[in-house]
């Protein structure tokens, strides 16, 4: 179970309840990292606001968004994040074979070029702390400056959440069965 307390709406001040309600508005409820993040209410609100753009208003195609999120989750061995996003990825049209390749750490091998490029971009940034010139140019040409920035921000944002989810050992939301093998 989580190492940190999860806050419920009833435990919050009036002002903090406003933050709670804003987080719940787009997502349907306050779950994942957010009940714990409410220990620092402004942080919870500001983090959620950034995430809201990246999840619901991003320029990225949903399948790309979910593929990138799963790749980040795999890189960080983040059970909560993976389990939350695997069904979303399937729904967005990410092929099951791709999801399995990621899950089993075989990706980008076996993936079609477009998918492989995205996975490699994420892996190179997180593992090697760099992006090669060729990979950068290809992604810039493919997504444009806005798309590329949304992509990089998505990698950064889900890495930020992974720190919280991993550090605090937050389990998958809604009692879901964990989907990421170790």
């Amino acid at each position: 179970m989580s190492r940190m307390p999860s806050l419920t709406r009833g435990e919050l001040s009036l002002e903090e309840q406003g933050i709670f309600d804003d987080i719940a508005a787009k997502r349907g409820s306050v779950y994942g990292p957010f009940p714990v993040l409410l220990s620092s209410p402004k942080v919870a609100g500001l983090t959620a606001k950034l995430g809201e753009y990246l999840r619901f208003e991003s320029s990225l195609d949903p399948a790309i968004l979910q593929l990138v999120t799963l790749t980040v989750a795999r890189e960080w061995d983040c059970q909560c994040q993976w389990t939350d996003h695997e069904p979303q990825a399937l729904e967005a049209g990410v092929p099951k074979a791709t999801i399995d390749a990621l899950k089993e750490r075989r990706a980008p091998e076996g993936l079609v070029t477009d998918e492989a490029e995205l996975v490699s971009f994420v892996q190179e940034l997180i593992q090697n702390h760099q992006v090669s010139e060729a990979a950068f140019v290809r992604m810039k040409d493919r997504l444009g400056p806005l798309g590329l920035t949304d992509l990089i921000a998505t990698i950064g944002y889900y890495s930020l959440l992974a720190c919280v989810l991993n550090g605090f050992e937050i389990p998958p939301a809604f009692g879901r069965e964990p989907l990421l093998p170790n």
Binding site: R3, M4, P5, V36, L37, S39, S40, K42, V43, L46, T47, K49, L50, Y53, L54, E57, S59, W76, D77, C78, L125, I126, H129, Q130, V131, F136, K140, P145, L146, L148, T149, D150, I152, A153, I155, G156, Y157, S159, L160, L161, A162, C163, V164, N166, G167, F168
Partner: protein
């Protein structure tokens, strides 16, 4: 930087407002926010989170800067390190501590309270897990509010590092890079 910087004149409406808000808060749009400005909503929302973590955080300045330096070192992020080394000094982070982190020797040689912070960063960013002993110690030292601010700080400077690295953002002209790479 690998992309041309977005000029204020190129932005309109809400995007230009975001630009102006960042200038109002930081004095200028540069570094990670210059990089992120190609997606103005991202730049704005990241800057808002960053403003809390810098100016309203529950953490004391020394803790904040030690953690930021440790994150910058882990990501080999020149811009972030170079910006924060002087801030760390100003926050009275000991010279030996700065050097130990810079040279990748930390947490060895650090006093226990500083070593604990660096260990927390390393365990999160390298192993993706925080050992029970480390977490117990850090949880007994920091309140839930502080520990939340601390952990999000690690995540936040990691997020900025992603942008700074991907866009190869360099320290401003005339600023000496301080991180051996």
């Amino acid at each position: 930087m690998r992309l041309t910087e977005v000029a204020r004149e190129d932005l309109h409406g809400r995007s230009q407002q975001i630009y102006d808000e960042i200038v109002a808060s930081r004095g200028v749009v540069r570094g990670p926010f210059a990089a992120l400005m190609h997606s103005p909503e991202v730049a704005g929302r990241a800057a808002s989170l960053g403003a809390y973590l810098r100016f309203e955080t529950s953490l004391d300045p020394k803790t904040l800067q030690i953690v930021t330096l440790a994150v910058a070192r882990e990501w080999d992020c020149q811009y972030e390190w170079t910006a924060h080394e002087p801030q760390a000094r100003e926050a009275l982070v000991p010279e030996d501590t700065i050097t130990a982190i810079k040279k990748r020797q930390a947490p060895e040689g650090l006093p226990e309270d500083e070593a604990l912070l660096v260990r927390y960063v390393h365990e999160l960013l390298r192993g993706h897990r925080v050992a029970p002993e480390t977490f117990d110690r850090i949880q007994s030292r920091f309140s839930p509010l502080e520990l939340t601010d601390l952990t999000i700080t690690i995540g936040y400077y990691s997020m900025l590092a992603c942008a700074l690295i991907a866009y190869e953002v360099q320290p401003a002209e005339g600023v000496v890079p301080l991180l051996p790479l």
